[in-house]
């Protein structure tokens, strides 16, 4: 007489086993889109970083040269060249976007909004750009932020700026 252990699986056992396998497969398939999106979260983060770096680069360009009229007066020159308050307002905000060539939640190419806040701190002469971005655009409400801060280089005098530089009268030297 054969032992029970030698009798093989029963139909019920087989059905349960197959059911578990099917369930696992379905779950794996369902998780695929999220896995794909998750693997590319860095794309949006990199794009947000680009937006911040571009904002800083444009600000550097705009504040590269001190306005000639601001340094015409020798007495006021030191204050004009001490920072970049003549180039920046304290704060501003805008909405940029990143263009993705493939739809993340199904569909075609899409733009993802990035909320940009820029501040200028005159005492430290520092420009800070903060970008709020959705790490996964298919999950509403998830927002991450990154911030880039740049301490600006001293402004230069524009070419052909004429500066009077009072010096001691040679007769008294």
């Amino acid at each position: 007489m054969a032992e029970r252990g030698e009798a093989g699986f029963g139909l019920l056992e087989l059905v349960v086993c197959v059911g578990l396998l099917v369930l696992g497969s379905v779950l794996a398939l369902a998780a695929l889109p999220a896995l794909v999106r998750g693997s590319q979260t860095g794309v949006i983060r990199d794009a947000a970083t680009d937006v911040a770096r571009n904002a800083i680069e444009r600000a550097r360009a705009a504040a590269a040269y001190v306005p000639p009229q601001a340094v015409a007066d020798p007495a006021a020159r030191a204050a004009a060249t001490a920072g970049h308050a003549w180039a920046f307002v304290p704060a501003a905000a805008d909405v940029a976007a990143v263009h993705l060539e493939r739809g993340w939640c199904g569909g075609s190419a899409t733009d993802v909004a990035l909320h940009v806040a820029t501040t200028y701190d005159a005492p430290s002469d520092t420009l800070t750009v903060t970008v709020a971005y959705p790490p996964d655009p298919c999950l509403p409400g998830t927002i991450a932020t990154l911030a880039l801060a740049a301490q600006l280089a001293p402004p230069a005098y524009a070419p052909q700026t004429a500066l009077d530089a009072p010096v001691a009268d040679p007769a008294v030297q």
């Binding site: 007489m1 009268d169 007769a171």
Partner: protein
């Protein structure tokens, strides 16, 4: 097997085998689909990751090239946009060009400006596949009105337009079309349309020109007006005014030309100057592109003019020191008026007088 076979030893019935086969086939198919999807996704993920990495590298290279560049510009091209960098360092002058060729972003380097449409131009790929390379150039003064390239929203709100100065000067290098390459604080915006993401990079030359002119002004402690009333010294850098006259005290410029006596109470008389002459000059020295010494002199002039009535009273305006029987000097304002010079003339005289009256002045 002498005993009856029990059910468990009898094997599966046909219906059991059929059901099991069907379930197995279903599971096998589902598993195959999962594996296929996973495989396809992994390929796609790898492709996107590779493309994204290439875009990252390209953006980094562009920023790095700009940081060490003297000029960044969009070279003339009839075969699509391109961006070029002029770099000067201890190794000499070199040019780096990024352009699209056969759907790839490529880079070329040469000791001179390059033509992106030259098929013989040796270039190496940076991004394997791009849909489009577009380049725009903004002057600094246009940045306040700049818009985000994707959303189209203004993004220059942090800037004060009146505080932005645009600089664009000749880099003293000719481009392939003979035009002068210019450098300054223009921003070149490069956009790479590629999968999986459109990448935009704003570029600013790291080595920007600054060739301002500094005028060393010996400004008599700021009291002399360099561009004052004297046409010969305009556009010159004032260096010194060499006047050795104390305008306030010296009678040398005021010589009585005519005088008489007026009776006073008690039978006495007092001197009344009826006219005096003024003459003299002073020297200003200037430095600049054409150093010059300007001598300003005036001929003797009689004042008051002939025929003018004289009050002849002690309260009159004539500068007479009755005690010393001498003519008092008049101040610069009066002297300027005497000579018919504008008020600025008097200011210049006063400044020089002050300078020479200053005990700290060694002149």
């Amino acid at each position: 097997m002498s005993e009856a076979v029990q059910t468990n030893e009898a094997g599966f019935t046909l219906i059991e085998v059929v059901l099991a086969s069907a379930l197995f086939a279903f599971v096998a198919l589902a598993g195959f689909e999962v594996v296929r999807a996973l495989g396809g996704s992994s390929v796609l993920i790898a492709q996107r990751a590779r493309a994204a990495a290439q875009l990252r590298v390209a953006a980094g290279e562009l920023r790095s090239a700009a940081l060490s560049a003297t000029a960044v510009w969009q070279p003339p091209s009839t075969c699509g946009d391109a961006v070029e960098f002029l770099q000067r360092d201890a190794g000499g002058t070199s040019f780096v060009l990024y352009f699209a060729r056969a759907s790839a972003l490529v880079r070329a380097r040469a000791p001179g400006p390059m033509n992106p449409c030259d098929p013989a131009l040796a270039a190496q790929p940076i991004v394997a596949t791009i849909a489009r390379l577009s380049v725009r150039r903004f002057t600094a003064t246009a940045l306040a009105a700049h818009t985000d390239p994707v959303s189209g929203n203004p993004d220059g709100g942090i800037l004060v337009p009146a505080g932005v100065s645009a600089v664009s000067v000749d880099a003293h290098v000719a481009d392939i079309d003979g035009s002068a390459i210019r450098t300054g604080n223009d921003v070149v915006e490069v956009t790479l349309d590629a999968d999986p993401v459109r990448t935009t990079v704003d570029l600013l030359a790291g080595n920007r020109p600054s060739a301002y002119t500094q005028t060393l002004a010996y400004a008599c402690d700021g009291r002399c007006e360099a561009n004052g009333p004297f046409p010969e010294i305009r556009n010159g850098a004032f260096s010194d005014c060499a006047v050795t006259i104390d305008f306030a005290q010296s009678p040398a410029y005021y010589v009585p030309a005519a005088y008489g006596y007026a009776p006073v109470a008690g039978g006495g008389a007092r001197i009344v100057v009826t006219a005096y002459s003024v003459a003299g000059g002073y020297v200003f020295a200037f430095d600049g592109p054409a150093p010059v010494t300007a001598e300003r002199a005036w001929p003797p002039a009689l004042w008051p003019p002939a025929g003018s009535p004289l009050a002849g009273t002690i309260a009159d305006a004539y500068p007479v020191d009755y005690a010393a029987n001498a003519v008092l000097a008049r101040g610069p304002a009066q002297l300027a008026a005497d000579l018919g010079e504008p008020a600025a003339f008097a200011a210049g005289l006063q400044a020089c007088a002050d300078m020479h009256a200053d005990p700290t002045y060694g002149g």
